[in-house]
Amino acid sequence: MNHDFEAVIGLEVHVQLATRSKIFSSAKARLESGESVANEVPNINTTPIDAGHPGTLPVLNRKAMEYAIKTGLATQCKVNLTNQFARKHYFYPDLPKGYQISQFTQPICEHGFIDIETSEGSSKRIGITRIHMEEDAGKSTHHQGHTLVNLNRAGIPLVEVVSEPDMRSPQEAVAYLRKLYSIVTFIGVCDGNMQEGNFRCDANVSIRKKGDMKLGTRTEIKNVNSFRFVEKAIDYEIQRQIQTVLSGGSIVQETRLYDSDKNQTIAMRTKEEADDYRYFPDPDLPPLIIEPALVQSLANELPELPSVKKIRFEKEFGLNAEDAGLLTSSRKLCDFFEESVGKLTELNVSAQNGAKTIANLINGEWNRLLAETNIKIEESKIRPIHFAGIAQFVLGQTISATAAKQVVAKIFAEGADDSFNALEKVIESLGLKQVNDAAALEAAIAKVLEANPKQVGEYLSGKEKVIGFLVGQAMKAMGGRANPALLQQLMQEKLKLIKPN
């Protein structure tokens, strides 16, 4: 990045709330499978209210309001006990009423923040200007010569979380998004399926000379649907703006889309005039008055937030920041981990010891398998009880930590019942049972030492690193099943006993 310029980034995130019904009608807002209702037979998931039939009226789904309040509480916002819905007008085929019910001058929450970790490791506070409730629009698909409109999605409850323009790099933007994502999935207000459109991000990007207080003209990058693409899109846009200014041009306020194939942002066809949304308070929805007691009880319902959990995992289980961070990045993952650790006590294994092993297996092997096979956490055949059992075996030296990965993979593929015997069977079937018997190890070591006089000589003349080779040979001879620590220890002892010639 050109050191004369700094980037100023603000993010608007539309979070689809995981309520059972839509925000103003009784139609379904989500399917049990987690798939979007947009995928059902087009227009089957609508009531006359969602299709904007004349004479219909909106009635607020209180759960949506509660989820909006929870989102505000979890991001340190002030909840406005009196707030108001407003109509935002524009004509488009997938906006059935010709206006979207949203909030304008009186949003439900304001003035919060999210703390992120910068790349330097320090903490930075990103302000949240406001959070407001609104309804989702339908979906248009464009074909040759015609457009199809599907209203299944119209009316799904959204909260729009608007940040202050506090971010200064694509990395900070992504850190903020990941944090916000973990918060809303953690507190259970959002399912977090980005492919289904549960969490949609628009980025406002501008540049200015370092030290300048005035904001530059900004462009809006719309609908980037993955964290990776957000980072790339913002990065590209910053560079583009800098290049434009450096070559004497000026930035046009416009909406741009990100093309992930070309890794570019592209201007949408500019409209002749900006939309005038003609906001006014929706006369069909009286001012929303929220009881302080309700806010309090919702606050009490909030679970431990991811940032708090992360610190606790580091302290209680001795996990490193990276591992703890990975585990707390999603509610499902975190719940799975905590359930696994919980099972350890059932097996009389100390949580402190076993948690680290479990964390490694979850973040490593299992995470890889999930990504490869595209299977969801709840569909995984390997369950918390298995992880606890495997950790127990590792801690008891029955299998090595490395071998444990193979066990995970096997149960992931085929499943296993959750008894001790079942796990043992898997271990045996893979031939992974660790050999802890010193005599057997010593026998293998003796053979290896005899077969590799050159390396022994090197070791004895001071080249200590060569022990790695010798241990490796012995492990190979043992079919990979030797207890690594014991093998290492015995090898060292044996080598000490050899008198130099």
Binding site: H53, H89, F91, Y99
Partner: protein, 489 residues
């Protein structure tokens, strides 16, 4: 006219002189023979089916005793203003836009009426999307006055007014946003009631101005007005602007009024700002006589002031049109309604919308443009916002006045029914017809029109009675007495 009240009809049922079926059939005959253009759609098959079922039940199930408790409107043939949705029944709002529209659901008002035993004869003609004061703005031809066929019945519920007055239904529903029940009631010589805003559900009432629209009955008598309001009023979970306040049984209250011998202590307010030049002298005289008759019964007549009255019409024509421009945004030919062939060939969305939305009539277009302007950036504060503030002041005027009086009375309109075409060329002239009814609408107050006399041309004159919020009881009481004392002075 055979029957004066619902009670008389039920008596005829009990005595076996009439059945729901014979009554409905006779109305359908009259409708066929009429040239008032009061109906846009006649629901002959549906009505006959309803009537047959009720006749059968009356005989077999109820052994000739009308089950009044469960079905207070048993067998009563009604017309429904074509602004109320009925599932599967063409509902047009008198517009080309909805020429072919079959709603997928029934409005709460019609549902409650039919659940109470009422029979729907058909959908009544009106000003398009309830925008008008004469029922000349209909895409299906104007409605004619019940007796003077060269005159307007008033609007926007003109079909309702004419149908009741010309005995083309026994009672009707209307809607009132700035006077659209009260004005046709006055012009046609029937009783028209607009409840407090929030008393009656708006679910299924195709919206003109959301903060003003209210449904109400048009009937021959005040007691039937109360009877119908008893059925339709009450909280609806489908409408969060509907009130959950307890409602009295207004018809029962009126039965008690029949026993009272005078109006001693009843305070009747006369607003000085309403009795200005421009009121037709015969209208003024009839209203004054009515007020005098109250005084003769012991009522106290109190002059009151409603100082912000002069802002009422402009306030209304900002608030109402702004909400209307918004409510009518949904008419785009995409999900329902008419989509002209030419629209399907449009090259851009803008072109498409132009081709569809040109189906609106002149007055509707006028109000949409006005409303869009009033809400737009740069004008919102000076127009819409200002109007909302003025509205609050007018509400305050009424609240102050009601400290001293129980009801406020005035003419409904400066004149009796005018001629077809007389005001339709001049929108502003037309808007001034509502000058007395608008303030009560802005303040959300219950009000009614009761016929108290005729002018020398035989045209009816209505007394306008306004009550405090949720005090329909006082309005009904005054209306009952006005009806009783008609002609006594």
């Amino acid at each position: 006219m055979k029957y004066q009240t619902i009670s008389e009809i039920h008596k005829a049922f009990q005595e076996g002189n009439e059945t729901p079926l014979t009554l409905t059939q006779s109305y359908l005959e009259k409708i066929k023979a009429s040239n008032h253009n009061a109906y846009i759609t006649v629901c002959e098959d549906r009505a006959l089916k309803q009537a047959e079922t009720l006749s059968h039940e009356l005989k077999e199930k109820y052994k000739g005793h009308v089950p009044l408790k469960e079905f207070p409107l048993f067998g009563i043939p009604m017309g429904q203003k074509d602004v109320f949705t009925i599932e599967g029944v063409r509902t047009t709002c008198a517009s080309r836009m909805l020429e072919n529209y079959l709603p997928p659901y029934t409005s709460t008002v019609v549902k409650r009426l039919e659940n109470a035993g009422a029979i729907t004869l058909g959908k009544l003609n009106m000003d398009e999307f309830a925008m008008g004061s004469s029922s000349e703005n209909s895409a299906y031809g104007p409605v004619l006055h019940p007796t003077h066929l060269d005159r307007v019945p008033g609007g926007s519920s003109g079909g309702s007014g004419t149908a009741v007055a010309a005995d083309l239904c026994f009672a009707a529903t209307g809607t009132d946003t700035g006077g659209s029940i009260r004005l046709p009631a006055s012009f046609c010589g029937v009783v028209g009631f607009k409840p407090t805003y929030g008393r009656v559900s708006r679910y299924g009432l195709i919206a003109f101005a959301s903060s003003l629209d209210q449904a109400g009955p048009l009937t021959h008598s005040v007691e039937d007005s109360a009877r119908i309001l008893d059925v339709i009023a009450g909280e609806d979970e489908m409408d969060c602007t509907s009130s959950n306040l307890e409602k009295p049984n207004w018809w029962a209250e009126l039965q008690q009024r029949k026993a009272e011998s005078n109006l001693k202590g009843f305070r009747v307010g006369v607003p000085e700002e309403y009795f200005v030049d421009g009121i037709d002298s015969e209208v003024r005289s009839a209203i004054e006589k009515s007020i005098e008759s109250f005084r003769n019964q012991g009522a106290v007549v109190v002059p009151v002031s409603l100082p912000h009255t002069k802002y009422a019409v402009s306030t209304y024509y900002l608030v109402a049109v702004s909400e209307a421009s918004s409510n009518l945004s949904r008419f785009d030919g995409i999900k329902f309604g008419v989509r002209p062939e030419s629209a399907s060939n449009a090259k851009t969305p803008q072109e498409y919308y132009k081709k569809v939305r040109t189906l609106f009539g002149e007055e509707v277009k006028r109000r949409i443009v006005l409303g869009t302007f009033a809400l737009s950036t740069g004008y919102y504060d000076a127009y819409y916002q200002k109007a909302c503030q003025a509205r609050r002041l007018m509400r305050q005027d009424f609240e102050n006045a009601f400290q001293q009086v129980d009801v406020i009375v005035s003419p409904v309109s400066p004149t009796t029914a005018f001629k077809l075409g007389e005001k339709s060329k001049n929108p502003l002239q037309m808007y001034l017809t509502d000058i007395f009814t608008i303030p009560a609408s802005l303040a959300g107050l219950p009000s009614m029109s009761v016929p108290v006399g005729n002018d020398s041309g035989g045209l009816s004159i209505g007394l306008h009675i306004i009550g405090n919020r949720f005090n329909e009881s006082a309005v009904f009481r005054a209306g009952f007495w006005a009806e009783k004392l008609r002609g006594s002075v």
